[in-house]
């Protein structure tokens, strides 16, 4: 893949693989209005799919589909092979020691809930402490609140500094011998903040606490190495990395996973079942009760192939360019506040507020200009409380976005100010 001079990758070439990006929206043929070009800047919510990923699932359904594991026939072997191969792709993608450490779930949310229910209920007691941060997505907050309620565990909170970064220097004061887990995000889905994962893990280890990394916003965008992170659990979603919906991953250290009781009960996760009891099966099956998301797992494997082909380092470098462009464009507009840290600590997520205009109104005007962004609390209400705002507008990028789209974003924000801004 030869990128244009000065760019780490060629977004125009790559966009050709994404049919959905090449459309006009809000056309009104009756009135001869041909609509506006779509600029998809909602990648923090979910990403789009190249033909290759979609085709991998079509191939599955049209050629090799079957249930996995227990079927004793030709198609079943093909599906089992394909699911095993996808598991190994995930393993390599994360640089994980063993494929059995890769548990397929529906997404980040289920992955974290799995840990909270299986590990949490089995190993946490009243008075134990879990540290989460103020910038977490609800998916990495509510499951721990539920665990706290079930088990009397105490939650402690690592604060966001005024610089848009986690206040890591204050972490030691939150840690003690009762700390069982530090659960935190690798990249904030609102501020774009890249957190110092290895540093936080090292601190947690000092008091013998485990670590769970919500990597929903990092795995798709930058190289992941669970061994260099040194953490115990990592959770992420397929649909945020050009993969299908309905599939995600929980990675965990083998010994740790192997010490945990099953979460969901059902077919595939057992060794032996009697009417009144069961014995659990081996990893990874113990945590994959029921028919897995077979086609989606295969699609996730194809997504990883595609991302590897583009190159994670190129993706990250290119997104840095897009983010810098967004800071430049939006930063030049009076009345616009960009939230989060300075560029060097930031991934491809830019949330902002427009003075005197409600974020949902901003998003509405942007939408009519074809620019897909998200307005709201982005499933991070406590973070917005901390910022002192009820909601924000978020533009989030992926490798198929262009600087031109970001220029259009800036123009549309100006239009929103014109339509809504208090006339002075």
């Amino acid at each position: 893949m030869s990128a244009p001079p000065t760019l780490p990758l060629d977004p125009v070439l790559l966009r050709a693989d994404f049919p959905i990006l090449h459309q006009r929206v809000y056309a009104n043929p009756r009135r001869g209005n041909e609509g506006v070009r779509l600029a998809y800047l909602d990648n923090g919510a979910t990403t789009q799919h190249p033909r290759q990923v979609v085709q991998s699932m079509v191939d599955c359904y049209e050629r090799t589909y079957s249930n996995v594991h227990r079927g004793a026939h030709y198609l079943s072997a093909q599906s089992t092979d394909a699911v095993n191969a996808a598991r190994e792709k995930v393993q390599r993608f994360l640089n994980a020691p063993r494929a059995e450490e890769v548990i397929f779930t529906r997404g980040t949310t289920e992955s974290i809930n799995l840990v909270a229910r299986s590990w949490g209920d089995a190993f946490c007691q009243a008075g134990d402490e879990i540290v989460v941060t103020e910038i977490e997505h609800h998916a990495n907050l509510v499951p721990w609140q539920q665990l706290a309620e079930r088990k009397g565990v105490k939650l402690r909170h690592l604060r966001l500094g005024d610089d848009g970064q986690l206040d890591v220097p204050s972490l030691p004061s939150l840690l003690n011998e009762r700390t069982r887990l530090v659960a935190f995000t690798a990249v904030s889905n609102v501020l774009g903040t890249i957190t110092p994962v290895a540093e936080i893990v090292a601190q947690a280890k000092r008091v013998g606490a485990l670590t769970l990394v919500d990597a929903a916003q990092s795995v798709p965008h930058m190289r992941t190495d669970v061994q260099s992170w040194g953490c115990d659990f990592v959770a992420f979603s397929g649909h945020k990395m050009i993969g299908p919906t309905g599939v995600g991953v929980l990675w965990g250290r083998y010994d740790l996973l192997d010490s945990m009781p099953p979460f969901l009960g059902g077919g595939g996760m057992i060794d032996r079942v009697w009417l009144d009891r069961f014995t659990p099966g081996e990893l990874p099956h113990r945590f994959e009760a029921g028919t897995p998301a077979i086609a989606e797992i295969i699609g996730l494997g194809a997504a990883i192939d595609y991302l590897n082909h583009v190159g994670l380092d190129a993706i990250h470098a290119y997104e840095q360019i897009l983010t810098a462009k967004a800071h430049e464009v939006l930063g030049a507009l009076p009345g616009v506040t960009i939230w989060g840290p300075s560029l060097e600590h930031k991934a491809g997520i830019v949330s902002f507020s427009v003075a005197d205009v409600h974020p949902s109104d901003v998003a509405n005007v942007l939408d009519l200009a074809g620019i897909a962004v998200r307005a709201g609390h982005h499933c991070a209400m406590p973070l917005h409380d901390r910022l002192g705002i009820p909601a924000s507008t978020r533009a989030s990028f992926y490798f198929y976005n262009t600087t031109e789209e970001i220029e259009r974003l800036g123009e549309a924000v100006v239009r929103a100010q014109e339509m809504f801004g208090r006339k002075s």
Partner: protein, 142 residues
């Protein structure tokens, strides 16, 4: 704000060339919404599932048959416009009349269906539900 018929609304919206004009009309209609005193902006009156805050209260008019009058407010301007349109369709009707309205259908007819869908952003679907619930309660109370 005055009550408008569906036909009146439809003809106004039909004149819009594009979605931006349509939005401008929504906003204009929102500016006609009677203000709601702050004391009514309570958690109880807040409509769940809207991204901007929306509050809706209903009052029963004296007279027979009794009719419902709604007041509402929002901190989002689009949401305010949408609730204004909704109220113009239902205000000062009897609970039974309100329940008989196919509000989803009407918004579809106005080509505002997309605002109904986005239940979690503009919250029109939630607003419709709240209005219907309030009418239902009153209807059952009679």
């Amino acid at each position: 704000m005055k009550t408008m018929t569906v036909a009146e609304l439809a003809s106004e919206f039909d004149d819009c060339w594009d979605e931006t004009e349509r939005l401008k009309l929504i906003l204009e209609l929102g500016r006609g919404l009677d203000p709601l005193a702050d004391e009514f902006k309570t958690e109880e009156n807040r409509v769940l599932g809207c991204q901007s805050n929306v509050w809706v209260v209903s009052n029963v008019t004296s007279g027979v048959p009794e009719r419902l009058h709604f007041d509402a407010a929002s901190d989002g301007e689009t949401a305010r416009g949408l609730i204004a349109i909704l109220l113009s369709l239902v205000n000062d009707k009897t609970p039974a009349e309100i329940l008989a309205l196919d509000l989803d259908g009407i918004f579809k007819q106005l080509e505002l269906a997309r605002y109904v869908t986005r239940s979690r952003s503009n919250g029109l679907a939630s607003m419709i539900n709240r209005v219907r619930d309030l009418a239902q309660q009153r209807h059952l109370a009679n």
